[in-house]
């Protein structure tokens, strides 16, 4: 209750500020597909965080080595920081999928008196205390790739898991004509991203005759996904569509159907080069919701903008359309390995360095 009041107060102040300064707001482009959140007019104050270069920017990454996507997101961030000569130092700390470590990392960044902190929270609450502490210390905080419950941050870019799941769910509903049975391959149990994507799916199939007949955790891993898909297939191969919460599981499931020479039902994918290869090769009905590692770069761009003294919106959303086969073909890179993700802002040189096939 108390906290709610406080939030309301903060909101009111911010809203007033925003209204006052709106005229001066110049749109800063963070990334394709990232737009100010509709209905939220709050902005940051211009020049509030302005500082002379060189800047020291810190980033608390929830887990660089959680999977290949998280690695690339870290690379995107580093590359963006390197691109801007005014960024004197870019400190990337890896919480290694430990909430406790993330709290510690943010504290360490504050102790080092960085000029801006970028946080990708592991869970909606794990970084809250740190974010509040940083803001209290006068350090702007940019949040992306992950939700928070606080809104003490300076700027957030929300690529919603709910939206991601809903794009996939809407696709299935459309493909199935609003009626049919689907399997659900979920990600890591208890992971907030998985839960949000699932929420999006439930939203999409609400009120339709699309029914979930089987559901299990493939943990976003190829082998576990395959184990689940194989078991479900051998149990009862009749299925109208598959909602998969991650690209590796989609590949695994496609492989299972191929292995039994069965027709691949509509199945959802993700913006991953390896998945694109299979999709283009086999042409099964699918969609790729967009969730690019370029967000790493967007976070750095936002930090730079704030330090330049530019005005940003407080909240941005990243809810692009899903990609169809045509768009996938445009982005697909035959010369890169399966672990490259799109969209990315890595330079051609970096792409070749990281993902090039020799």
């Amino acid at each position: 209750m108390h906290q709610g009041l406080k939030l309301l107060g903060v909101g009111l102040v911010a809203a007033t500020l925003a209204a006052w300064t709106e005229a001066r707001a110049q749109e800063v482009k963070l990334m394709d597909g990232v737009t100010p959140r509709p209905g939220d007019e709050r902005t940051t104050a211009a020049d509030k965080f302005k500082k002379n270069a060189p800047w020291k920017i810190g980033m608390s990454h929830f887990g660089v080595n959680a999977n290949t996507w998280t690695v690339q997101m870290a690379h995107d961030a580093e590359a963006a920081a390197k691109l801007d000569k005014r960024v004197g130092q870019f400190i990337l700390l890896d919480a290694n999928i430990s909430q406790a470590k993330q709290v510690a990392d943010i504290e360490d960044l504050i102790a080092q008196k960085v000029d801006a902190i970028i946080v990708t929270p592991l869970t909606p609450t794990s970084a809250d205390a740190g974010i509040e502490k940083a803001v209290a210390a006068g350090i702007p905080v940019i949040v992306h790739t992950g939700l928070t419950e606080t809104d003490k941050y300076t700027v957030d870019i929300q690529g919603g898991g709910v939206h991601f799941g809903k794009v996939m769910g809407d696709f299935l509903v459309k493909q199935l004509g609003g009626k049919g049975n689907i399997w659900v391959l979920r990600g890591l149990p208890a992971h907030p991203e998985d839960i949000n994507r699932y929420k999006g799916l439930l939203e999409a199939i609400k009120g339709t005759d699309v029914k979930i007949i089987a559901e299990d955790a493939g943990k976003w891993q190829y082998d576990v996904g395959k184990q689940v898909c194989e078991t479900l297939y051998l149990n009862n191969p009749k299925v109208d569509g598959i909602w998969s919460s991650g690209a590796d599981m989609t590949r695994a499931c496609v492989d299972v159907f191929q292995q039994y020479g069965a027709k691949i039902p509509p199945i959802t994918g993700e913006g991953n080069n390896g998945f694109f290869a299979r999709w283009i090769e086999l042409g099964f009905p699918s969609i790729s919701p967009e969730y690019g590692p370029e967000q790493g770069a967007a976070g750095v761009r936002a930090a730079v903008a704030l330090l330049e003294g530019k005005q940003l919106h407080k909240r941005y959303i990243y809810e692009p359309e899903g990609w169809d086969l045509e768009k996938a073909k445009k982005y697909y890179r035959k010369d890169l390995s399966a672990n490259a993700w799109f969209p990315t802002s890595l330079t051609e040189q970096d792409l070749q360095k990281y993902y090039g096939k020799h």
């Binding site: 430990s98 406790a100 102790a111 869970t123 208890a190």
Partner: protein
């Protein structure tokens, strides 16, 4: 529990210095090496960074090390009696899960402790009465408790009673709460391990089978050790719940391994009977200083893991034992 394999050792002459170095002069194990390493690291950090000695950073260090210290103390108690507790991590998670259910604090905290006592008792009974190897007993318990945690709190979130928030981030008599937690935990543990008959009996049981001829009830004491381990893990869970202000079913995952690591680093022998509270705290401090130091020195996120592993391997290889195996 079978006795580990001991080949009769030669009564080699050992220099006084050598004895000190291998910790043969006390049953507290070889805590001098990790202490020296920790001090050396701290000194190096103090000179090479501006931030390390700041009060802010030291408070951070304490708050970062506190949950690990709590879990490790319990882990050490179990290891002293030739046991091992792999279920501490899931007890930590379960605790944050229960606390985030919006129950009033006077219900939630006793509930959490009760759960911990039950888990500890089950571990202890499996190990003593059914003579199941501690690794297996607590590994199974880890899975079971983790499963229950996921029922209680399927994903991170919820909110924790505000009293607990205060317990972690408030101040008492002008002292920051994490400092109070650590001091309180150390005092309690000192009393239990080094300042009570029970503690002495733990060492005696770890020291050999003849403890029974002194009239020490092995079964009861081992049982108590497992209960204590669970309770310390629950205390760590309470602290963490206050720190992340919510419940999280995965928050404890690392603590089983990290606590064993810290305990072993502090000179406590996994074969039982040799170890110390100060060694364990030093072990935790060393791990915290390494993590904090690597952050402050901007050691690449990508080699922090290797450095941690190498330090662990080096310190453990400096502790000679008589037994082969676990």
């Amino acid at each position: 529990m079978k006795r580990p394999y001991i080949v009769e050792v030669k009564t080699t002459e050992m220099s006084q210095l050598g004895r000190l170095f291998v910790g043969a002069n006390s049953r507290h194990g070889l805590w001098t090496v990790p202490l020296l390493v920790a001090l050396a690291c701290s000194l190096a950090l103090a000179f090479s960074t501006n931030e390390f000695v700041s009060s802010q950073n030291i408070l951070n260090l304490v708050a970062q090390a506190a949950p690990l210290i709590l879990v490790s103390i319990g882990q050490m108690i179990v290891i002293l009696v030739r046991g091992l507790d792999l279920s501490v991590g899931s007890v930590v998670s379960l605790t944050t899960g229960i606390l985030s259910l919006n129950a009033p604090v006077y219900v939630a905290v006793p509930g959490v402790m009760l759960a911990a006592v039950v888990i500890g008792l089950l571990n202890g009974i499996t190990v003593t009465t059914f003579r199941v190897h501690p690794i297996i007993a607590t590994l199974s318990m880890m899975g079971i408790v983790q499963g229950i945690t996921m029922f209680v709190r399927p994903s991170a979130g919820g909110s924790v009673p505000s009293e607990i928030l205060f317990l972690v981030s408030g101040k008492l008599f002008g002292i920051y709460m994490p400092v109070i937690w650590v001091i309180a935990a150390i005092l309690v543990a000192w009393k239990v391990v080094h300042g009570s008959r029970f503690g002495l009996h733990l060492f005696a049981i770890g020291g050999g089978e003849t403890a029974a001829t002194f009239g020490i009830a092995e079964r009861r004491n081992v049982l108590a050790a497992y209960v204590l381990s669970s309770c310390f893990a629950a205390a760590a869970g309470i602290f963490l719940a206050g720190r992340i202000v919510s419940g999280d079913p995965n928050i404890g995952t690392q603590y089983a391994v990290d606590s064993i690591t810290a305990v072993a680093l502090g000179g406590t022998q996994l074969a039982g009977g040799v170890g110390s509270l100060h060694g364990t705290v030093i072990g935790c401090a060393l791990l915290a200083v390494i993590a904090n130091g690597m952050n402050l020195l901007n050691v690449s996120a990508f080699i922090q893991t290797i450095v941690k592993g190498l330090i662990l391997l080096a310190v453990i290889s400096l502790q000679p034992r008589k037994t082969i195996g676990l």
